[in-house]
Each structure stands twice: as C-alpha cells, then as structure tokens.
C-alpha cells in the first residue's frame, strides 16, 4: 500500500482501531446472517471430540489424561475451517482490494481479521471446554490459567492463520495448501497450550504460567510480523 496517498487519519492509532472495529463488526454480521460457524464449524469441532473418544476406545482415564491435547487439536482443526472461511468471504467480492482502494491501513485490516478469528474461536472453545468436561471428565482446577491460555494461545493461532491465509488467498489450491503451511507453524502453540492446559486441568505437574509466557511471545511475534508484512501481502502486482 502506498502510504503517501492515505490521509494521516487512517494511519493514526485511533484510525487503525476504528478500521479494525469496522472489519470485526462486518464479519460478525456476516456470521450472524450466514451462521457458518454456528451451524457447520462448531458441530464439526464437537464431532472431532467424539472421534477421539472412539479412537481411544472410550477409555475415561485416557480421555481425561489427554483432554488438554485433544482439546487443542480439535481447536486447530476447527481453526483451519474458520480461517479459510474468513478469507473466502473477502475473496468472493475482492473486498481486500476495496480495503486498499479505501486507503485502509493494512495493519488495521490484519488486526481486524485476526480479531474476527479470535472471537469466533473463543466462542468455539467455550463449547469445546464444556465438551471435554462432559465427555472426557476433565476437571477445571485453575480457571484463571484456563481462560488466559485460551485467549493468548488463540491470539497466536488467529494472527498466524490470518497471515498465512491471506498470503495464499489468490491461489485456487488455498484450501489444501493452508493446512500444510499453517500446521507446522502452529506446533509451538499446540505444545505450549497443551502443557498450560495440563496444569489448568490438573493432569500434568508443570507450571502452566511459564508455558503461558511462551504462548504470549508467540502471539506477540506473529502480531508484530503481521503488522510489518501485511502491506506487502495486500499489494497489487
């Protein structure tokens, strides 16, 4: 994006926040009307929890012990769908180009899209949390750590996801390419969030707050990186 053409108002902190807010509102409005998250992605995530139970012979001890990891794998699989969907909604009418024409700051677009995915995944995680408590018999021993881990780890997933998804958004093969690119990058989040949840659900004798620090560093790194390079990704040739 050619910043010299944009009015200073769009580049100020308030301008960025305002644009992010508008994008967030727009996407949630689309969700309220289309109900793709509610009717498709959410049931899929619950289905994944069920598949794990079948794969692990429905053994309640095993399921409770591995509940943290299974929870986050379910989140990652559902996140792929949510992220793909988030970019697809922009692709249909080439709205990403319109953002540029409207001289929106790329940073604002990045934060807006990240915030949308963050919100959607957090809603999904509330359902999944109930799922692992009911289906797997998980017990919440540190609620504050549980909630902080969810928010911080999901920020990492949402920011990295937005970055990768937009990088490949113009390709015909984006649905098949996204998992290959995104999943290896998210492995640190899976490890960190599983360990932190192990502490929060009382299944692992580790200090979950230290792992939360790693997750925070990851999220911060991707948010910074996204803010730096998102402009290049949105550029027209």
């Amino acid at each position: 994006m050619n910043t010299s053409d944009a009015t200073p108002g769009h580049l100020s902190l308030m301008g960025i926040l305002r644009t992010s807010w508008h994008i967030w509102r727009k996407d949630l409005l689309i969700e309220l009307r289309s109900r793709v998250l509610l009717n498709q992605i959410l049931p899929f995530a619950v289905l994944v929890l069920m598949l794990f139970a079948f794969a692990l012979d429905g053994d309640s001890t095993t399921l409770e012990f591995f509940a943290p990891g299974l929870f986050w794998v379910a989140v990652l699989l559902a996140a792929l769908l949510a992220i793909g969907r988030s970019v697809a909604t922009e692709q249909a009418d080439a709205t990403m180009d319109n953002f540029r024409l409207g001289s929106s700051s790329p940073v604002a677009v990045f934060f807006g899209k990240t915030l949308v995915i963050l919100t959607q995944l957090l809603v999904l995680e509330i359902v999944l949390a109930v799922g692992v408590i009911v289906f797997y018999g998980a017990r919440l021993s540190e609620p504050l750590l549980f909630v902080s881990t969810s928010v911080v780890a999901t920020s990492g997933i949402a920011s990295a996801g937005t970055l990768y998804a937009v990088a490949i958004s113009k390709l015909g093969v984006r649905e098949t390419l996204l998992p290959l690119l995104l999943m290896p990058a998210l492995v640190p989040v899976l490890i960190g969030a599983t360990r932190a949840f192990g502490d929060a659900l009382g299944t692992a004798g580790v200090n979950g707050w230290q792992w939360l620090g790693l997750l925070g560093a990851f999220a911060l790194a991707y948010l910074t990186l996204g803010a730096l390079v998102f402009g290049s990704l949105l550029e027209e040739n």
Binding site: A167, K170, L177, L180, L181, A185, S232, L233
Partner: protein, 281 residues
C-alpha cells in the same frame, strides 16, 4: 518468424553478482546452466566426495572405547553415518538461512535475482534436510536403539523445519502471477527461517529430554581422524551446495526468461496479425 534481437531486462540486480550467475541469452540455441565456474566446482565436489568416502570408510576409526570395568562401548561403525548427517544438517540450515536472507532482500529491493536465490536455496535445503532426517533415523536405530524419539527436541524440530519448507516449495509450485508469488513466498520464507533459531536453541528452551550429544565438536572430545573426516564432510557439502545452487539458480532464471520470451513472441504475433488485418481492410 525472426528471433528478437534483445530482450530487455526489467530486473535491478548488482552487476558483479549477476555476472557470477550469468547465463547465455535465451536466443542462443546452445543454452546451458554450465560454465567454467560450475565445471570447476562440480569436479571439486566429485573429487571431494571420493576423498570423503575414503576417509569415512577406511581412514577414520570406528567409535569404541573401554569403560573402567572392561566393557567395550561406543557407536562402532554407525559413527560413519555422521560424516553425512552432520554436514547435511549444517548446510540445510545454511540453505534455509539463505532463503530467509534472500527473501528479506527481495521484499526490500524487489530484485528477482534474490527471489531466485531464495527459491533455489530452499529446494537444496529441503533435500539436505531430508538427507539429515533419513541418516538420523538410520543412525538412531543402532545407537539410540530407536528409529525415532519424540522426546528429542532437535529431531522433532528438524522434521518441523523440513515440513515448513516443503510447504514453501508447494506454494512456489502453484502457478500464479510471478511478482505476487515472489512477494508472498518471501513472507512465508521469512516466517519459516525464523524457526531456525528456535530449532537451534530448542534443546535449551524446551524440556531437556534430548538424546542428542551436546556439541561434541566444542569439547574436542572426538578423535583426530574423526574430526578431520567431519571437516572434509563440511568442505564437500559446502562445495556441493554452491554448485547445486548456481545450477538451480540458472534454471530458475532461464525458466523466467522463457516465460517472458514466450509472452513477447505471442504479443508480437498478435500485433503482426492485427497489422495485416488493418492493411487488408
């Protein structure tokens, strides 16, 4: 149809560097990726490989030592795999670092030259990384008594690095507008390259459950002949990397030239057609 005399060059690369990687004009029928430099490099690599094999299999000893109670322990012949494993690992990392560097420079200078370097280097890096993993797995069976150890942070993160760059190459293999592809691939490569320090420091960062020895080289615990063989391994892999990189770079360069050439030809043909139509009417 006449051959166009000159294809204008829209790129802005450093003149000396471009000269080093220079290829003949696409109009030349006998175009090749070989040159005096690559021939020398190629022969040196080949000779080096022979020397490396002789050192690895004949001159260097097997790894064994006697413990206080008289038992013989060590890696025995399996140690010979390390002369392939360690240099391949090091140059896989070098290759990915170069891809990261090339991508940063591409985003900064927008020079296609650096984009080709980044792409070529990543391809070689993936091959070297594959060799590293394969030799590591084969070596692990007799020495660690397991093909794979999920608790070992270094092999797990190397596999991850391998997959990240396989993804990068998958992205590059999808046809799309060249400049957009170069730009977005650069972003992907930079993110991928940022994983290298994580890989390197992972032993310290994550749980210290590694089976890997802590930098045997630094402590100079290994035998002279072993150390020398390893050094030869580094030199040979360095030459091989450079040799492959130059050839792969030239292939990428020529592929782009062909594409542009084809487009120009098609435009010219269409223009001639339009002129003929105009004259007829």
């Amino acid at each position: 149809m006449t051959t166009p005399t000159e294809v204008e060059n829209p790129r802005s690369e450093p003149a000396a560097a471009a000269d080093f990687f220079a290829v003949n004009s696409i109009a030349d029928a006998s175009v090749s990726t070989g040159s005096a430099t690559t021939k020398v490099l190629g022969w040196l690599t080949l000779a080096g490989l022979v020397v490396l094999l002789v050192f690895a299999f004949i001159i260097s000893p097997e790894d064994s030592r006697e413990t206080a109670d008289g038992a013989i322990i060590g890696q025995f012949d399996a140690v010979r795999l390390l002369y392939l494993h360690v240099p391949a690992a090091v140059f896989a990392y070098v290759a990915f670092a170069l891809t990261g560097l090339g991508s940063i420079i591409y985003l900064w200078k927008r020079s296609r030259w650096w984009d080709h370097v980044a792409h070529s280097s990543a391809e070689i890096g993936v091959v070297f990384c594959g060799v590293t993993l394969l030799t590591g797995v084969i070596w692990g069976r007799p020495v660690w008594n397991t093909w794979w150890e999920w608790g070992d942070v270094r092999i797990v993160t190397t596999l991850l690095l391998f997959l990240i760059f396989v993804g990068y190459l998958a992205f590059r293999s999808v046809p799309s507008e060249p400049r957009r592809q170069a730009r977005n691939a650069s972003v992907l490569a930079i993110i991928g390259a940022l994983n290298i320090p994580v890989v390197n420091r992972s032993v310290e960062w994550w749980e210290n459950r590694t089976l890997h020895q802590q930098s045997t080289l630094e402590e100079l615990k290994i035998e002279d002949a072993t150390l020398l063989t390893l050094m030869i391994g580094f030199a040979v892999f360095g030459l091989m990397f450079l040799w492959l990189l130059i050839h792969r770079f030239r292939v990428a360069w020529l592929a782009e030239e062909v594409e542009q050439h084809g487009l120009k030809q098609a435009l010219r043909r269409r223009r001639e057609e339009a002129q003929r139509e105009a004259m007829v009417s």
